[in-house]
């Protein structure tokens, strides 16, 4: 045991020592431009870190167990605090905190952002901190769990909470750079935010009003449509159930603005339908679709499948014997529906409504394509940062408002509805037949669903055809691969394959980013789920809420906050591919987590304890017992994060650069230029690539499972 403990100490202190003595401390520095070299050369504030590294190494060699030695804890704590303090205290152009200039005169010259050395030193210190805490009984002494928790908390603080706080502070910065309350008050009370002019007939409404009106309308319609779909699938003998389920999957693989583009092609001023209608009825084509009606249409089509899935699972969870009981007591079908089914469904309806409300507020793709002059918060934030008038203070203020709305909705959803849900399915199997809904309600549902299906089919027809005809917007239907060739032309010569098409760069970046972020998202998500479901540690509730909270942060806000936080030292990484990957990992984390938590709830905890008593540490337990048993959840998390990384636009649009462009951002640019055919062609290629990748992953996972279990007839069940 002693030998093992000694070696653990050497890993972290060795890593720290290497990072501080040999690796480039600053971004872009040469090897050996380390903290030691820089410190000796004049940046003396780095020398305490050298002392910490040497002290920790000495302690781990000399003391019996450095982790429980008081000096170990003191060194690790001091090292971490000093690392952050000097990093954030001394910026690129000199001291950011008052007083540092007096303490270190050379700091006036400033310092660049963290390089490899600083990053690895930080990781080593975090690792050492976890060891120190585990040795003091944190996580019942499980080192792996302690390291995971400390690591995830550090990562979340750095990549979720720090950017948000940094952005919020920007709302209080006056144009001349001073910090005070006044600019925030001025910005947040501006009339272009809160005006209700459109209702009183005196001009336009403010963005906040616009966003809330859109959110509420969109959520109401999407929930109603989702309910109609769910009732048809769960409670009727409707013929096209399979089609409805298939349609519900489409939005998941559809980039968010594709629906908007298709709507323009159909209903824009020169749109297919608009022109036909104008010809037939002699009405003048208008731009009615740009603004609230268009966004609303696109959002309802996009969110109805989400509410459908929420309501479907709620309907299926209602114990049929309750409805049977009502019937045997003499209630007519309509009465049963009104007095039993509907009240039981209410919490799910509220959940679906809030979900759609959050999605609508966070949506960026549809408002930017279809918005016209109808400004909402997400687009306004975008133009505040990207437009001619770069105004981070304005963007920050709008972000605070948007964030308040979504987090409030999220809070209501988790706290209030969490308690109100009626779980009527228990462990006991109740043999009951589901009651079909009354005919009246059935036909109402059909009346709502048929237009939805027609719209959806029409939109995907546009997407499939549009890219391969000359100009669908003007109904020139001559087949052509011209658009595809513009995007993806290549040449095979003696020098190998050369890619000329304008879209290759973004396509390749997208695939790289998705392929890198998906396994990371899945890994961290499942690990987080395991920590929450299986470990008891101080601060667990805050940890859980913090991880889930990142779900409620709209992509636009994430994008702006990353610009605010990571454009300047010490963490200066905008324009790299790393920031894209990191952005996706922390945005999609909650999904992997939820899948993991749901799967872990099905597994008897004592299996993991059995593994522990036989000598397995946390990592081994996870690998040998947990992961094999929750494989479906892992797969779901992997697919979801891969697909989301390929289709998301709201956060990445702020983070892409000329060198690392993403497919969605590229397509967005084509839409802005009115090159709809090219945008549609690329979108359909993107969707095909996604389907192919998902199928490939499915095949790979599926065959591996078969390979291991061919001899087994019945699937393994957790022991009872």
């Amino acid at each position: 045991m002693r030998a093992v403990k000694g070696r653990i100490g050497l890993v972290w202190s060795g890593l720290l020592l290497t990072a501080i003595l040999a690796l480039p401390w600053f971004k872009g520095g040469a090897l050996l431009d380390s903290a030691l070299a820089e410190g000796v050369a004049g940046r003396v504030w780095l020398l305490p870190l050298v002392a910490v590294a040497l002290g920790l190494s000495g302690l781990s060699v000399l003391s019996r167990d450095w982790r429980i030695h008081p000096a170990g804890a003191a060194l690790v704590g001091a090292g971490l605090i000093w690392l952050l303090l000097q990093g954030f205290g001394i910026g690129l152009r000199g001291p950011a905190l008052p007083g540092i200039g007096v303490l270190f005169p050379t700091a006036l010259a400033g310092q660049p952002g963290f390089g490899w050395g600083a990053w690895i030193a930080g990781i080593a210190l975090v690792g050492a901190l976890a060891e120190v805490l585990a040795a003091r009984g944190f996580c019942r002494g499980e080192r792996f769990a302690a390291f995971s928790i400390i690591g995830i908390v550090a990562a979340l603080s750095l990549f979720v909470f720090f950017p948000i706080l940094k952005l919020m502070s920007a709302a209080f910065v006056a144009p001349d750079g001073t910090l005070s309350l006044l600019p925030f008050v001025t910005r947040i009370t501006a009339s272009d935010l809160w005006s209700v002019g459109c209702l009183t007939g005196a001009g336009r409404c403010g963005v906040v009003i616009n966003s809330v009106v859109l959110g509420v309308l969109s959520a109401v319609f999407a929930t109603a449509l989702g309910l109609a779909l769910a009732l048809l699938v769960a409670r009727t003998d409707f013929r096209m159930k399979r089609l409805l389920r298939a349609i519900s999957i489409l939005p998941i693989i559809t980039p968010p603005f594709v629906v908007g583009v298709a709507i323009i092609v159909l209903f824009g001023r020169t749109g297919v339908v608009t022109v036909e209608v104008a010809d037939w009825f002699g009405v003048r084509p208008t731009r009615w679709v740009y603004g609230l009606p268009g966004i609303l249409l696109a959002q309802v089509l996009a969110f109805a499948p989400v509410t459908f899935l929420v309501l479907l699972s709620a309907l299926e969870a209602i114990n049929p014997t309750l409805e049977e009981a009502s019937t045997t007591l003499g209630a007519k079908p309509v009465t049963t529906f009104r007095t039993v089914t509907w009240p039981l469904l209410r919490p799910a309806l509220a959940a679906a409504f809030l979900l759609a409300f959050i999605e609508s507020l966070a949506d960026f793709g549809n408002p930017i394509v279809l918005g016209g002059s109808y400004d909402v918060l997400s687009t306004k934030i975008f133009f505040a940062v990207v437009g001619a008038q770069y105004d981070l203070g304005q963007a920050a203020t709008l972000s605070v408002l948007l964030l308040t709305l979504t987090v409030a909705a999220f809070w209501v959803q988790t706290r209030w509805l969490g308690r109100a849900s009626y779980v009527t399915v228990t462990g006991k199997s109740d043999a009951g037949l589901v009651a079909p809904v009354p005919p009246l309600i059935k036909w109402a549902a059909v009346a709502a669903v048929v237009p939805f299906v027609v719209f959806t089919v029409g939109i995907y027809a546009i997407v499939l055809i549009g890219g391969f005809v000359k100009d669908i917007a003007r109904l020139e239907m001559a087949p052509t691969f011209g658009h595809l060739w513009t995007a993806f032309s290549f040449e095979i010569s003696e020098r190998g394959v050369q890619l000329f098409g304008s879209a290759w760069n973004s396509m390749i970046t997208t695939l790289w980013v998705s392929a890198l972020s998906a396994p990371l998202t899945m890994g961290i998500g499942i690990l987080t789920a395991w920590l929450i479901a299986r470990q008891d540690f101080t601060g667990k509730r805050a940890f859980e809420f913090g991880t889930l909270l990142s779900f409620a942060i709209p992509g636009t806000v994430v994008g702006v906050s990353y610009i605010a936080a990571f454009n300047v030292p010490p963490i200066d990484m905008t324009g790299t591919m790393a920031i894209l990957v990191i952005c996706f990992v922390f945005r999609n984390l909650p999904v992997g987590m939820r899948a993991g938590i749901a799967a872990l709830a099905q597994i008897d905890r004592s299996m993991e304890e059995a593994s522990q008593t036989m000598g397995a540490g946390g990592g081994r337990v996870l690998r040998d017992v947990v992961l094999p048993l929750i494989r479906p959840a892992i797969f779901t998390a992997l697919i979801y994060s891969f697909v989301t990384a390929m289709t998301a636009v709201s956060a990445v649009i702020f983070l892409v650069s000329a060198r690392h462009n993403m497919a969605t951002a590229y397509i967005m640019g084509r839409v802005e230029n009115g090159e709809y055919a090219l945008a549609i062609a690329y979108s359909s290629v993107l969707m095909l690539v996604m389907v192919a990748c998902v199928a490939a992953m499915n095949w790979a996972v599926g065959t591996r499972r078969l390979g291991r279990r061919t001899a087994v007839a019945n699937p393994a069940q957790p022991a009872e």
């Binding site: 019942r140 299996m607 304890e609 000598g615 017992v625 069940q717 022991a719």
Partner: protein, 337 residues
């Protein structure tokens, strides 16, 4: 002097405000089977998990094989545990389940499997190596769980209510199997149950726990025949409690006078139902008479109070309403308060 395998020194375990274990001192000798017995919530399972390392004590120390393991996680201790649900890994064969521990601790796979085969043969599961747990009967699963727990020659083997998922009919058999395995391998074992009959049948010593504390420790006969508190008397088997006064070495209650030891003053005696004899005719009366196949049970309204009496089936039977006289001998009672 026997060797100590496990020792608790003033162990306390708290969860937030709730105290699960409120200060336990106990030592368990090598090769002994000790049972933690008590009602639910008494801290018996927590105490077991403290030995396993699945919980760490809030205060005090736990020693295993002479080493202080209070801060060691489960993976750093050498214990085997049989879980209530068996906790067999559903995705591994029987052989892999049993070989898992040795592999984790660094034995080569082939050797680990060899070891696992030996143990499986000894618990009578020779032909089932390649089955998955779901393809075994409940009794077989239990034996796999035991084999898995003992394959590494642990310092101690822990049983967490191992019979609760076994059919009532099979319990006696499985219980005897566990006991004979434990003796054969010379294992130190700690066994948790809430079933007092199971505890009496299987243990060398029983630790009765109540609200996080040890109420009494002793051999099964000690506990049954000489309970030290009314709680123990009542919890293990059935007991009649008689309240009275002690003066000059004699306990007196209405219609009863017996020599006892201990201080003068108010006292409570406990007597087992089968230690009371009844004779026809007298001042007492049978209230109910219940036929239980193996014995008769009578509720008797006696001068000392209402008493439960259990008599062998071959004695002349009494009927409800009959007048009887009730006899208690001073060697059959124990003073519990």
């Amino acid at each position: 002097m026997t060797e100590t395998a496990i020792e608790f020194r003033s162990v306390v375990k708290r969860y937030g405000d709730a105290t699960a274990v409120a200060g336990i001192d106990l030592s368990i000798a090598k090769g002994e089977l000790v049972t933690f017995l008590g009602p639910s919530g008494c801290g018996k399972t927590t105490s077991l998990r403290l030995i396993a390392g699945l919980e760490l004590p809030s205060e005090g120390q736990v020693f295993i094989a002479g080493r202080d393991v209070s801060r060691d996680p489960a993976s750093a201790r050498n214990v085997g545990m049989v879980f209530q649900s068996y906790a067999l890994f559903p995705h591994m064969s029987v052989l892999d389940n049993v070989a898992y521990g040795p592999v984790i601790r660094g034995t080569a796979k082939a050797q680990a499997q060899e070891k696992a085969r030996e143990i499986l043969d000894q618990v009578g599961l020779g032909g089932l190596h390649q089955r998955l747990p779901a393809e075994l009967s409940g009794g077989q699963q239990q034996r796999v769980a035991v084999a898995r727990a003992i394959v590494q020659q642990p310092d101690v083997i822990l049983f967490d209510e191992p019979l609760s998922n076994v059919d009532a009919k099979l319990r006696r058999k499985v219980r005897e199997e566990i006991r004979s395995l434990q003796r054969r391998f010379g294992l130190t074992a700690v066994y948790v149950t809430h079933d007092q009959e199971e505890a009496l049948a299987v243990s060398d010593r029983i630790v009765v726990m109540d609200r996080g504390r040890i109420a009494q420790v002793g051999t099964p006969a000690d506990l049954y025949e000489r309970p030290s508190t009314p709680f123990i008397a009542d919890f293990i088997g059935d007991a009649n409690l008689i309240r009275g006064e002690v003066a000059q070495g004699y306990f007196t209650a209405p219609g009863l006078s017996l020599p006892v030891t201990g201080p003068d003053g108010p006292a409570t005696l406990s007597i087992r139902p089968e230690r009371i004899t009844l004779a026809p005719g007298g001042p007492d009366r049978v209230v109910t008479a219940t036929y239980l196949g193996s014995r008769m049970e009578y509720m008797v309204a006696a001068q000392v109070g209402e008493m439960l009496v259990s008599r062998p089936i071959f004695e002349p039977r009494l009927a409800a309403g009959q007048d009887v006289s009730l006899h208690i001998t001073h060697t059959d009672v124990s003073r519990v308060a």
